[in-house]
């Protein structure tokens, strides 16, 4: 029974129609959480005595970095599922997720650089985690470029899925790099089990922002995947009818 239900999600039309109502809700929840998180982070979180007010950048930098890595893992997972069970929707999600993940990784790198200047004096430093985040950005760009370059859609899908899988070796390296090299980034302050090294008054807004970004990512992925479905299934009856109907709604 469950298998059958799972299998239905592989159909682009089913996916599109079922996720329709979710999009608005996710967007709303994401907005609420973000506003709450931003107000808390910018206005109420206490000052960090060593770093000053610029530490507030952490509330964007860390969530963006987590999401950049998370989206890549999702892409690798979708790629694997798509290759093994030949699910089209998985390939569409991989293609749709790549630019978003790249944007988040880029954001993590840029906010990290801006944070670095007043805090440690340099815009850029080649420490382990920054290097591997840069590698992650290059991996994303490689996947986007390969998608665009291969003319046959089937081949492009499968090749990018494979490339995403190959590159996923990088993610554990990023995670463990801060343990292996003692450089700019400190070892993990946020632990899932046990006491975190960060004070509660700063930890909670950070966790909230991470959760908010998570919901935002789900929202963005649904948006982009749905458009990709429309684009790929353009020639089908249901898409043509849908686009015509929505255009009529838009006009009236």
């Amino acid at each position: 029974m469950v298998w059958q239900w799972l299998h239905r999600w592989g159909s682009p039309r089913w996916f599109y129609e079922k996720t329709g109502p979710w999009v608005a809700w996710l967007g709303l929840i994401a907005l609420v959480l973000l506003v709450w998180g931003l107000v808390w982070s910018l206005g109420y979180a206490p000052i960090e005595h060593k770093q000053g007010q610029s530490y507030r950048i952490i509330f964007i930098h860390v969530p963006a970095a987590f999401m950049g890595q998370g989206v890549y893992l999702l892409m690798a997972f979708c790629g694997a599922v798509g290759l093994i069970w030949r699910v089209k929707v998985c390939f569409m999600m991989t293609k749709a997720a790549a630019p978003y993940g790249a944007a988040l990784t880029f954001l993590a790198l840029v906010t990290g650089a801006i944070w670095g200047k007043p805090t440690w004096g340099t815009w850029w430093e080649w420490d382990a985690r920054i290097t591997f985040m840069l590698i992650l950005l290059f991996l994303y760009i490689g996947i986007i470029a390969l998608q665009a370059a291969l003319p046959s859609r089937d081949t492009a899908d499968k090749a990018c899925a494979l490339l995403a899988l190959i590159g996923s070796v990088n993610i554990p390296l990023i995670k463990n790099s801060v343990e292996w090299w003692y450089t700019l980034h400190q070892p993990a302050t946020i632990k899932i089990i046990g006491k975190s090294a960060m004070h509660e008054s700063m930890l909670y807004p950070l966790l909230l922002m991470i959760f908010a970004f998570w919901i935002l990512t789900a929202f963005a992925l649904l948006l982009t995947t749905r458009v990709e479905i429309l684009r790929r299934e353009f020639r089908t009856r249901w898409v043509q009818d849908l686009l015509a109907a929505e255009r009529e709604e838009g006009k009236s």
Binding site: T131, I135, F138, L139, A145, L150, A159, L163
Partner: protein, 231 residues
């Protein structure tokens, strides 16, 4: 066709190896290209940063490794291309021998004709960059392990882009992030030798990376070849 007449794994591997080696050796002009690039590129460094030997010695591990990496990268495009263009690759895909072995033999030949000569040439270029004496052994060992790993990893990229007519730049883009860990550990191994740190650590990691790529990358390369030829 009886079972006995299909060549076994080792015979298939040996036949593929011999063929690729012969073809590679016939185009001696192409073999020289990566080596010449290596020599010229390394020679440009002292001309660019100045001849002061202390500075050159500090830069030498990284420069030698980066240039060896680039030389490998340049030679990868032709790994599968000529076979793809004349249809031999498709024949290899339907062979009874596992594709893993065919890929492995191609990569081995590529390394023997590119990576190994680079490794052997490196000490000479180390002299040009005033590399201190204690680092030469580590330099050769790290390049020996590293160029093999780079041939294996690069084969994946070459397989993914073989169907593109001008896939060279895309190949570099795809392969570069995967090369970076190899580069980091290789160059740091040689730097450690300069500072008398234990260079066994990065060398061990290089060995581990080689073992990992030896096991996994021909599988990925084979899958990529199937995808590219079914375009």
């Amino acid at each position: 066709m009886s079972q006995a007449s299909t060549p076994g794994l080792m015979r298939g591997f040996a036949a593929s190896f011999r063929r690729d080696l012969l073809i590679g050796l016939r185009h001696k002009g192409e073999l020289i290209n990566p080596l010449m690039f290596f020599i010229i590129a390394v020679s440009l460094i002292p001309l660019g940063v100045g001849p002061e030997s202390q500075l050159l010695a500090r830069l030498a591990p990284g420069v030698l490794w980066v240039m060896a990496l680039l030389a490998c990268l340049l030679s990868l495009d032709g790994l599968f291309r000529s076979d793809y263009e004349d249809g031999t690759l498709e024949q290899m895909l339907i062979q009874p021998q596992p594709l893993y072995l065919m890929v492995l033999s191609k990569v081995l030949v590529h390394w023997l004709l590119t990576g190994l000569p680079l490794t052997l040439l490196a000490p000479l270029l180390g002299l040009m960059l005033a590399l201190p004496a204690q680092a030469y052994g580590t330099l050769c060992l790290s390049l020996f392990l590293g160029t093999a790993t780079m041939s294996l990893i690069g084969a994946m990229g070459a397989a993914l882009t073989v169907s593109l007519r001008r896939g060279g730049l895309l190949l570099s883009l795809i392969v570069m992030p995967l090369y970076i860990p190899v580069l980091i550990f290789g160059a740091s191994a040689v730097s450690y030798a300069l500072d008398t740190n234990p260079q066994s650590v990065p060398l061990a990691i290089l060995g581990a990376l080689l073992a990992l790529s030896l096991a996994l990358s021909p599988v990925a390369t084979a899958a990529a070849l199937r995808m590219s030829t079914n375009a």
